[in-house]
Symmetry: C2
Subunit: 185 residues, 2 copies
DNA sequence: CACCGAGGAAACAGATCTGTTTCCAGTGTG
DNA sequence: CACACTGGAAACAGATCTGTTTCCTCGGTG
């Protein structure tokens, strides 16, 4: 098997396990065994487990943004913003859902200077920017506040789904109420 | 020093450290050393580190409810519900704030049957019940939905404060919008 | 066939944790 | 003083992790 395949299979599997069980809970022995390779091979691809995590975080950061509705389609800003939460709902209702990956990893590494925590902040800021752009297009009078409010709702909804096992059904109503208040129709 | 003092000092200190750095990141050696006692004494008070965590969680569960505005005072339900977020704001802006303790610990123990995770759910359900009671008193037409929405906002606000280092200033406006929608004036 | 390199299996080193045990110093009491 | 008890310091056992190394097997190539 080509080395690149081994590398990407490692990143993919590590993403799953780190997300579902946590970075510290998953040992490199298990990662290697699951993929039918030896630790020797793993450490030839990545200098350390931390380097593997960095690659995992980079990959997830890229993927998360793709879940936002395409800004070049012909939907209205309101529809796009509601679409963010529809996409999140689908994400949270998947059987393997286990919380926001970035928040989970950031909780494990409390140190704010750790790359994992910084990546989590960056992801939130990407959502923030997306909301602001949509709100500005729609002529909202305070897109900054709306963005903050929707980011809070977005984060809270994932937590709620994780703790209760059910995505909060009334989120959509709450989002619509906030969009109405900010004049986005 | 009386044994009871040692016990409660242990619980208090463990609460701080488990909250700020995580359960697994804080060893019993350090806990004992910080308090100037030996591990022997610690293990005479608690059979295991897990038993200490159980006591910590019980104590925090009791304390968290006390942060909700007293239901027997003469404030209106709307004022009480806004007061929940004012109290949270003060909590999040304290220098030692490091996220919702229950969510943090629950994230460490992914197993939903673990007492820590159950305690986290219980705490959220207590907030849910509080909101519902206030909403029902105020004659809301759908107190269940409002409770869900405010719990999501509440959880998300703590996450936001943890990740960004700043409590979301526009939460109050969002809460007021939702209260308005549900007919609570 | 002879050789060589890639990679698996597993031992190993070193660190770090929980929980136990040993030893000893200090203290209160007869 | 003699004795018993408390609790600190530290060694220890056993587990678990990361990362390294050793040994061996197997497949490709001259």
């Amino acid at each position: 098997m080509p080395a690149e395949d081994t590398r990407s299979r490692l990143v993919a599997h590590a993403t799953n396990l780190f997300h579902r069980e946590g970075f510290h809970a998953v040992g490199v022995d298990r990662l290697a065994a699951d993929l039918g390779i030896s630790k020797k091979t793993l450490y030839k691809q990545f200098r350390s487990k931390d380097e593997l995590l960095t690659e995992v975080l980079d990959r997830c950061g890229d993927m998360a943004v793709q879940d936002f509705p395409d800004e070049s389609d012909d939907a209205s800003p309101r529809e796009r913003l509601l679409g963010v939460f529809d996409a999140q709902r689908a994400y949270c209702e998947a059987p393997e859902f286990s919380g926001c990956f970035f928040v989970n990893i950031a909780t494990e590494f409390r140190d704010p200077s750790h790359p994992a925590v910084r990546q989590a902040c960056f992801h939130k800021s990407q959502l923030h920017g997306y909301v602001r752009r949509q709100a500005d297009i729609a002529g909202a009078h305070d897109s900054e506040s709306l963005a903050e409010q929707l980011v809070v709702l977005h984060t809270g909804a994932a937590d709620y789904a994780l703790l209760t096992g059910r995505y909060p059904a009334t989120i959509r109503q709450a989002v619509e109420a906030l969009l109405d208040v900010h004049g986005i129709h």
